[in-house]
Amino acid sequence: MVEAASVLVGQGEAAESGGPAVVGPDPVQITLTVNGVARTIEVEPRMTLAEALRGLLGLTGTKISCGRGACSACTVWLDGATVCSCMMLAIDVGTRSVTTIEGLATGGRLHPVQAAFIEHDALQCAFCTPGIVMSCAALLERTPDPTAEDVQRAIAGHLCRCGTYPHVVAATLAAAKARKA
């Protein structure tokens, strides 16, 4: 965070009597590391990470549904931890590394969780799917051999109106096996 803070300090008004550096409300230049690539964009402080990803960076795999952190459709990783990108200001990300659904596949090959979701029919309308995949893939990073209950707990914040939950659990357990094979 020190780097990002110093960037902001450099751009901020000269702070009076040692007060904090202030930027905005007009657009501010920030650099986000998204899927391993540094991307420099201009954001108003009020812009959420989800809006920046979709609107400024064209990464529309991240979905915005409730916009209040209640459905988790907008889930991305910040330094590997799942967060609701609709409840995170882009300016607040700093140097933390952002991973979106577009960043999961490597070398043209689907992530094991993505492949297992197709194999196990774990999506229907699929609006919630990118977020759920991010949560299930994050689970496998820290719990390579999860139980069904671990998966249920990992997706507890996600709402799926199509009711794909049982297939999501089956797919994630299969993905865990596939990763070890």
Partner: protein, 343 residues
């Protein structure tokens, strides 16, 4: 969301100096008051961004605490207590080895709060300071009593999630599960101001019931930063439990939750007991009659049952929340028996 400026505070005093108002003061002010100068502190931002998106709060500037050193983490203090930095996330605390060893009941309660995504961002300080979930309070169209209006819409409206105690003026329930547990354990909060002065307040006294001030849930002042949550040294052999009941097992606010803590003398009789009900009243509710029902008694099924009934003393359910009475009666009994079963 309206436009706002963004300030990165580098120290506590700097943040306190910049924070011209609190969320509660800003929301109670008449529209337009405060104007261009209104600056509000941001911690994790989960509750704050929700309020901003609803235009319930229109600050000129947010003051971020995120990069202030020393505001997160858990420290074991010399006197045997724990000092939890206010900016420590719920996820960090739920898995923290020291907290899991010293106070598993709190770690488990935090693990059962919100979703993984929220726990990864929300801070314990922000959790204690979050505003109530009452749907009239959260809707900009209702200028309710707590927002400076003249009327509590819940009293004669949709009040199924509202208070059964102390609900005569405003029927919100305090939204923090962590608060239910922390009050039972006798925790305090540490607050710092722009001059570098600190004060410590018992968390139970920090919360403000409607008869003291209907427009705020706590005693945070403008130009003040909540810096830490202080857990006292817990007596050897203290029995603790927290139980929560929601409408579903996953990700939800509680309909009711109960935290109990008590210790026993060598004969197995209860010396002191704390029984705190959450989602019951505008502040965490101490069930004094239930506490008295345990004191001096051996803890068994009968005592727990009597305490469960006693916990309802003073309850005045509204038209749609009388279901909370049997809920609390059972949860108090279960929490007491669960605590007694722990060594």
């Amino acid at each position: 969301m309206n436009r706002f400026a963004w300030a990165h505070a580098r120290g506590i005093a700097e943040a306190a100096a910049a924070a011209s108002t609190t969320v509660a003061d800003a929301m109670a002010a008449p529209p337009g008051a405060g104007g261009d100068e209104m600056s509000i502190v941001k911690a994790g931002g989960i509750d704050l961004i929700d309020l901003l998106k609803e235009n319930l709060l229109v600050p000129a500037k947010l003051v971020s605490l995120k990069d202030i050193p020393g505001l997160d983490g858990v420290v074991e203090e010399q006197g045997g207590g724990l000092r939890i930095g206010a900016m420590t996330t719920l996820a960090t605390l739920a898995d923290h080895s020291v907290l899991r060893r010293r106070c598993p009941v709190l770690a488990d309660a935090l693990r059962g709060s919100a979703s993984a995504q929220i726990r990864n961002v929300a801070t314990l300080g922000g959790n204690l300071l979050q505003r109530p979930r009452c749907w009239y309070f959260r809707a900009a169209d209702y200028r309710c009593l707590r927002k400076g209006g003249g009327h509590c819409f819940a009293l004669s409206g949709e009040n199924q999630y509202h208070a059964i105690f102390d609900n005569g003026q405003c029927a919100i329930v305090h939204p923090s599960t962590a608060a239910t547990v922390l009050v039972a354990l006798g925790a305090a909060v540490e607050l710092a101001n722009a001059e570098g002065a600190q004060r410590q307040v018992l968390l139970e006294d920090f919360f403000v019931p409607p008869h003291r001030d209907v427009q705020r849930e706590n005693d945070l002042k403008p130009h003040e930063i909540l810096t830490a949550i202080l857990l006292p040294q817990l007596p050897e052999g203290l029995r603790m439990a927290h139980v929560k009941q929601g409408e579903r097992d996953s990700f939800d606010w509680p309909l009711a939750d109960v935290a109990v803590a008590f210790d026993l003398d060598p004969e197995g009789s209860c010396k002191r007991a704390a029984i705190i009900l959450g989602a019951a009243a505008p502040v965490p509710h101490r069930a004094r009659t239930a506490e008295a029902a345990l004191r001096g008694r051996r803890i068994d099924e009968d005592t727990a049952r009597q305490a469960g009934r006693a916990a309802l003393d003073g309850a005045m359910p509204l038209a749609k929340n009388a279901y909370k009475l049997p809920l609390f009666e059972v949860l108090v009994r279960r929490a007491i028996l669960a605590a007694a079963a722990r060594q």
